[in-house]
């Protein structure tokens, strides 16, 4: 069973990505491209539905679907591809997505998690080989920040709201 960091705790992941073994009632994460090709197929499943956005997917095209979704996963294929940070903020701030916002991919490493949490990601599916304990510590590397941001890390001071 896969473990993920969710809201600063290491927990067993109840979700399955499409392609992993899953029954009709299981929580399933489907690539956005699949959902667009055949929306009815996925909407009529009995289990909770999540969508996975690739870096080039336009988050605004998912906006209408958000109320039906329990989870959005955003791909970070490598640490240098920062498009997902914008996607995260847009989902949280502009479309008020309140479900689980998960970062997935080889780019989700301990040196990125502080920024991810600040952009609204409350769930981190770490890259293979990453130590969850180190990632948890990395969420607390800073206790101050200059910009406003999501409440995913504990900050004692921020600048722009001061």
């Amino acid at each position: 069973m896969r473990c993920i960091l969710r809201q600063r705790e290491l927990v067993a992941d109840p979700w399955r990505h499409l392609g992993e073994e899953a029954g009709d009632g299981d929580s399933l994460i489907v690539p956005f491209a699949q959902l667009r090709t055949d929306p009815q197929r996925w909407r009529t499943r009995s289990g909770p539905l999540g969508v996975r956005l690739a870096p080039a997917d336009r988050a605004e095209e998912l906006a209408a679907e958000l109320p039906r979704l329990s989870l959005v996963a955003v791909e970070f294929p490598n640490p240098g591809d920062g498009r997902g940070y914008t996607t995260g903020r847009l989902l949280r701030e502009r479309w008020r997505f309140a479900g689980e916002l998960r970062a997935v991919g080889a780019g989700v490493r301990q040196d990125q998690v502080f920024l991810l949490a600040r952009c609204g990601f409350d769930a981190l599916e770490l890259a293979e080989g990453e130590d969850p304990a180190a990632a948890l510590r990395a969420l607390q590397r800073y206790d101050v920040a200059y910009q406003p941001g999501a409440p995913g890390v504990a900050l004692r001071r921020q600048r722009f709201f001061a």
């Binding site: 920062g82 502009r94 101050v144 200059y146 001061a162």
Partner: protein
Amino acid sequence: MYRYDELDQAFVEQRVAEFRDQTRRYLAGELSEDQFRPLRLRNGLYIQRHAPMLRIAIPYGLLASHQLRRLADIARRYDRGYGHFTTRQNLQLNWPALADVPDILAELASVQMHAIQTSGNCVRNVTADHLAGIARDEVDDPRPYCELIRQWATLHPEFTYLPRKFKIAVTGSPEDRAASEVHDVGLHLVRGDDGALGFAVLVGGGLGRTPIIGTCIREFLPLSELFAYLEAILRVYNRFGRRDNIHKARIKILVKSLGAERFREQVEAEWEAGRESAPHPAAAEVERVRAFFRPQRYETLEDFDATAGRDSAFRAWYRYNTRPHRVPGYRAVFVSLKAHAAVPGDMSSAQMEAVAALAERVSFGLVRTTHTQNLLLADVRQRDLFDVWRELAALELATPNIGTLTDMIACPGLDFCSLANAGTIKVARQIQQRFDDLDYLYDLGEIELKMSGCMNACGHHHVGHIGVLGVDKHGEEWYQISLGGSANGRTALGEVIGPSVPQHEVAPAIERIVEVYRELREDGERFIDTLRRVGHDPFRERAYALHPAAA
């Protein structure tokens, strides 16, 4: 100048702790070279030809004397006793040991400095007019906004992994002394119709292998919207800038491919849509930062002729190396890092310490770095000028050549940089030797010579009146010469005049070019004005007249 509060101090200390851990993991083999690279770059650390290079941020070019002294001390203890000031107003150390870098960063943090985001695909050190706050033509002091931008950009959660680097310059004067039109974003402080302050916003300028002059996408942006608008620009760039090709990843390529008008529409739409969530700094916060940049406690003095009764050497220095000041009785003094045998921009630890002490005595303890790779003492009483000159001369920092051909900009080139094709330092020396006669130099007047060792254009060759670019031809160093570039007032990109020339031919070709100017100039005309009036042809013909180069 700005002083850290508890938040700033905690932040830089936590940053040092983070990098110490990252360095430890790298040295222990827990991070691969590829994984460590983006992390070290965001802390200013390159791996160069001979050793690591550490680029230390000097935000908008402002240094307190105790900071300069600490830089001197760091350069002496961790490096070889000197540093290199860059066109982005930063300081580079060429020989630190990788394992020492966390300690160096800790020392910087102890004097309210850092090396954060001086490299990597993120928002870089923000630069400003070196005459900010003292220029007579200034609309408003750009530095408080620079400081606010520095803070906003520092470890920005959304914009720390951009497609490519991102450079912002701010100027508060109509005369652009910050080369803002060749930045990713250039901000010009302006007054609106009702007298309120705001910014004109230019986007998509840049040098490198595709030089482009920035386009104004908003004539007037209210001050309070600065960060909302910058976030809109960066958001459009972060989402849609190219990531498949490093040479096409700067924002200028996106602006060019969309067209400035469509790019502007996207930014304005994003700005509008993001109004609620975009950051607006609290008014009290803006005031807190502004208060650090209030005018110095100037004495009430009158202007007087500091050169009266002085010899010609002092007069020459006064004329070339000092500038008018907004306040009567004061002048700004350039510390020339362009001595005739020196590497442009290099300064020894001993020189830094002496200038720090001098600044404490004569210029409110502050020193500025300029994008032309010199230092500036901004607030010197005119009655102190003679003594300041003597002291600087004893330090070999008074070469009276500011604004002349030998006040050239040059990147470190092949001697240090692993990207360079060409030994710019050697060529700089050849040019200095050929033009070592001051009277001849003065007769040539204002000429901006800018030299880069490769097409990344760190030496800004595209915007030099005379630009020199090192190119590699079958493993040999050759040099392309361009004419007609300019970065201030009327920004223009130079035009390559013909085939490249071998290293030993650069200085002679430049001499032939300026000889054409001496023959064709009209009364009081500068080199660039003659060039614009008569065109490139006469210069081109003569440049190759004696030694036709192989194509």
